[in-house]
Amino acid sequence: MNKDEKKAVKKLAKQNQSKVVAFRLGVLYIAVLLAFVGLSIRLIKITRENNDEYQQRILAQQSYDSKTLAAKRGEIIDCNGTILAASKENYNVILDVKMLLDADRQAGDNTCSFETIKALSETFGVEESIIRQYINDVPDSQYFVVKKGASYEEMKRFNAFTDKPTEENKATSLYNEKIKGVWFEKYYVRDYPQKSLASDVIGFSKSEGQASYGLEQYYNDELTGTPGRKYGFLSDETTVEITTIPATDGYTLVSTLDANVQMMVEKHLRAFAEEYKDNARPGWGAQNLGCIVMRANTGEILAMADFPNFDLTDPEDLSILYTDEQVKQMQDEGTYRDACDALWRNYCISNTFEPGSVMKPFTVAMGLETGKLTGNESYTCNGSLKVADHEIHCHNTNGDGTLSVKGAVAKSCNVALMYMSRAIGTETFLQYQNIFNLGLKTNIDLSGEARTENLVFNDKTLHESELATASFGQGFNVTMIQMCAGYAALVNGGYYYEPHLVSKILSPGGTVVKNIEPRLVKQVISNSTSEKIVDYCNAVVTDGTGWRSKPAGYTNGGKTGTAETLPRGNGEYILSFISHIPANNPEIICYVVIDRPNVSVQEDAKYATILSKQILTDILPYLNIPMTEELSEKDIEELSELDLSVLTGRIETGTDEAGDGEANAPDPSIDLTATQTDNEGEYTP
């Protein structure tokens, strides 16, 4: 019993101990309860006092990850589908440093960063030390641009490491699970595969939605797509919804330009510039060279070229005109931008000059159309004519003798034209100046066309002596495209077409969005007047100043122009030759302008007529204009010589089309066909 009692006492003591513990724990429990009550009150307080404010703060800090998705700028292709301008996908390589280091931490070592840096360095050629340095400096960064402008191929090569292997390529897969935190940001860059070809016509786009000069700027709205957007928004139930609006790519322009014709023209311009380089003065063969080839009956421009030109892929490169030191000096002086603009602007539409004798057919046409001339008049030229106390000389100071109207045009006699202008009078001259669109924009679809309305005469400035000189193209300024469009109307029956460069606008899928038909603006002269003008202009070639311009195997007509620049007497001339082919049924207009040729005696139209002949000899067979004339032995000899010297630079290779143009249907060159196929691949959905 004693033992039992002892046991009982012990047990009681133990029970007592336990009861104390239980009691105190009970007290603690109450304390815990109080703590919970306190916390609950705090919760209620936070909710009651700040509900609205915090809700707003939360909404305010939602960024929804709004992201712009780049749209692809439309392409510019020539009439054969050759790509002149296109946008390529490029990628920025982004490294999420934080994610990479987290992966390292999870793995417990640094194999992930090691492998990732190695792969980045190998694929993109970025030095490992640069990446390591950055990771060291900014370990929290989630956006480190490892490389800007990686190509699609590079991106693919890197993705080989991160693409999980499928059943098929298990053996060959380069998959490396250690590579983490790398992603790509897609954007587009403009590419000009033909480099400097038609540079002034095409213009360039340096950043998305922005373009300078030429078609790129004029058709910027059509070319620029609509960027897509990925964004989140709060729905009625304050949940975040993510929505993606895909980007709409820009439209494609189909140009009337023919890359082959353009290339031939540019080749000849360059050849001229090089031939007379550093001849009479340092520098290229002329200050500027311009050439427009246009279809006479539609206003479609086949080629529009000027020299010096520039590389569209690197427009800032002014090395064609200036040395590096000069560029630096210009940058210091602040004239660099002006120099760039001078190079980038399109001579054919932006520069103005006095047309000179090319104006003569226009003057004659005014007279014939208004009946003030019949075409049967004859004039005597003694070398000069006194108009309002001024002695105005003919370019032939010895006098051209007695001339018919036709002869006056053919010999380009100033005196005869002055007599004609007297018959025409200022009123008619001004009226027809307007009808021929001189002083007005042609509205060609290019940006940068010069305004000439203040550079032509008006009723306040046109007096007797001005009228006399204006009759042979002095005293007012024009642009090349104005003369070209006007001359086309003179010889095609009187129909003035708006010159244009784009024939079609295509959707990204390749369907036609807009067909741009030739736009007949007005009839400027009657058919019969036009026939007479054609006849006179043909005489310029057969029997006058333009005799050097006749391309072998073809007939042509045209008008030369030699205009002395201001101030008069400085010996500097702008030489030009405008011509139509074939002679009796004009299809092609070709206008060549040589601005101050680099020769000691500039006043000689032969530079322009020969250049024109070279160009025409080259492009006419290509354009499938049939030869109508027998080739003389001299012609054949000349052609085969040309073949060797100039024609070898053509896009087409191995065709001696000049030899027998009729038989020689021009097939598109090999490299152009290649690009064309690529191009078609893009357009077939």
Binding site: V32, R42, L43, N51, L59, V240
Partner: protein, 398 residues
Amino acid sequence: MAENRPVRRKRYVDYSLLVIVFFLLAFGLVMVYSTSSYSASLDFEGDSLFYLKRQLISVVVGLLAMAITSLIPYTLYSKLRHPALLAAVGSIMLILTPLGYTANGARRWLRFGPLSIQPAEICKIAIIIFTAALLTQMSPGIRAGWKGFWFPIVPTGIICLMVFVISDDLSSAIIIGLIPVFMVLVSERKNIWPILILTLMVTVGVFAVLFVVKGWIPASMSFRLERILAWLNPEAYADGKGMQILQSLYGIGSGGVWGKGLGKSMQKLGFLPEAQNDMIFSIICEELGLVGGLSVIMMFILLLWRIRDITAHSKDYFGNMLVSGIFIHIAIQVILNICVVTNTIPNTGISLPFISYGGSSVIFLMAEIGIVMNVGSHVRFVEEEADEQENPYSAETD
């Protein structure tokens, strides 16, 4: 009642405790999925179930641990005073070996193949066992004196320091430091107030040192200081340390009374760091509102009530202390977690028991619940020999 005796020999299971624990676990899984699916799908290549799957595995392992500990007679632990201490010290020292594993910038884990364990969690349960066993070993006289205080506090204090220094984990150290202090307080001793005052002074002293000797603060401490400053004025530190706490408050405040609805939190979309972990309570309040948050608090109140009830009916001192320790552990962690989330105390990473994401925490908490169940099931064996009249417990449960 005599005729019921054979029936009573059956193992007693506190089902209400079990139900509460299971509810908290299931609720925890739902919330872990809700809070982590967005960030998981971003971080793990679209695998939004990443955290849920891992937590599910932990819960299954935890259930196993609970089943095992509920079957092991708890009296066995009373002999494990020294092994428990050794296990605590050893597990922390292992962090310094190559087994130690760094994640999220802190070396706090041990890795055994695919398994990773937080030694701090081992320490918590080891210290509960050690303190309970040590106090049981002492005679009531010693226990009541200062020796009864210093004997358990010194070794556990050393472990607390080790956790802080080696694994650089202040929050676990605080919990490990507080558990034995409260256990000593509830143990049968007379001088409670000096101990309470001492604890308070130590705490205040630590903070005072932190504030006064700014230049003396080592680099690892300065970020804690910043946390304290951020606590005092979270808006001023909105970019740095105050950001998390401010986002947490935004979450609670914007939830309103009824919440935005399950899964509709906006704060979890990358704005509130550690949303599935320390800050899960904020998301609970945002999605389920004040009602949801208070319900969770209510569940913990019920859980703690059940645990305390078992101590009230245990006649065994060791079992009593053991369960008290577990009670204290859970209570401290819940209170501190909610305090942090509501910006009541400076920000320190403490997870919400049973609900927060974290494998080690869930597994060891479940093991502790297993121990509580075991203590509860042994109530009878003690009672049988005791005076039945004094046993209100059997009357209640019959």
